[in-house]
Subunit: 223 residues, 2 copies
């Protein structure tokens, strides 16, 4: 990837609120973005909706697998129940790429209670499923979808970026900045259990305080 | 416990930096505080040191078991390796009490990498070990000891309070406030994995950014 070639980002499960919101911000920032979906027609429709917001034809729509094959950086925003199947589906076309896991293993019985899979977290599961040649990075799980589509709204939530590859984390921190978010290298992939679980804490706080978009900020370090 | 009786707080493992710092803040706020240690002489010495900072004889020193038996609220700040043994030692004398678990299951091989025990977290383990009649609350794990002993220094870190008993959490939130800290009810005891793991993230950030006391703040909710 050189500077004069635009980075291609695929957002798998990008028809949801979180995925389409991130896709919109990245397209707005100048990235070449594709929405992936199990149903390519749905991906095309969501892409067209984002283009309308952007006032330009910028966003592509494709199947998850085609989007993953096309992109330089692949972002997964599917519900946790769909994660294992989609990882299997795209495994061969993401080798050597940066893979950003946004998926959170929410417990359908109680989304306010953190519960991690046996591997430790959804992102650790993704790393295990995709193999060592994919640079899995966990990020963006705590960003409320509420204000994502207001592209210039500065969101009051930091992004904690976990992964084992420093250069991959550097690229994801750059993506966060492009989306008008402050991001921190939060350590190895295992630390994703903190960030995934924090989503349940924030849901609990939103419900308890009738808030729409609680978040976190790192304190005690100048930014 | 009625309003005119002063709450008695025991800080087990209270000879460490974190425990003695919390003890100091609570004694300063008017609570009746005891330091507990495996070695009562050491507890007495640390209590005397806190009294010197306070300019009054206020803090008691005892064995962990005596302190736990004496107190209304028992706070555990031992290293994780010592947790199972101390829970066994005090189990019978903490029945019916509020038990605040500050212990974090840091991985000695890499304190920057979060790793939870099979039960889910150290606090869930404590709840299982002490039984259903002890109100285990996880709190204060993310508070850096660095500035705790400057009792009027307002620490730039929120306290996330997890537990299954609302009234117990209310009491711990009150304790946090007395220590000049803002606290949030962060949901059920299982969410303690987030707060315990966050300690590794903050250690990672402290090392990376050469900071002394990184922390977190909840955003998006008026306080």
């Amino acid at each position: 990837m050189t500077q004069d070639i635009v980075t291609k980002i695929a957002v798998l499960g990008g028809t949801g609120n979180e995925g389409s919101g991130l896709a919109l911000r990245w397209a707005y920032a100048g990235y070449d973005v594709a929405i992936g979906s199990r149903q390519p027609q749905k991906a095309l429709a969501v892409a067209a909706g984002l283009d309308e917001l952007l006032g330009k034809e910028l966003v592509h729509g494709m199947s998850n697998r085609d989007a993953a094959a096309w992109a330089d950086i692949v972002v997964l925003t599917v519900p946790y129940a769909a994660q294992a199947a989609i990882l299997e589906e795209i495994r061969d076309v993401v080798q050597g790429k940066v893979f950003v896991n946004v998926t959170v293993p929410l417990d359908p019985d109680n989304v306010r209670r953190a519960r991690m899979p046996a591997a430790g977290s959804a992102a650790v599961e993704a790393q295990q499923a995709l193999g060592p040649d994919v640079q899995v990075v966990a990020a963006f799980q705590n960003i409320s979808a509420t204000y994502l589509k207001e592209v210039e709204h500065e969101l009051d939530c930091d992004v904690l970026v976990c992964g084992n590859d420093k250069e991959a984390k550097r690229q994801v921190i750059k993506l966060a900045r492009a989306a008008n978010l402050h991001a921190w290298d939060a350590g190895p992939i295992e630390n994703s259990l903190v960030v995934e679980g924090l989503t349940s804490v924030l849901i609990h706080l939103n419900i308890t305080h009738k808030a729409k978009a609680s978040g976190i900020r790192i304190t005690g370090i100048s930014r």
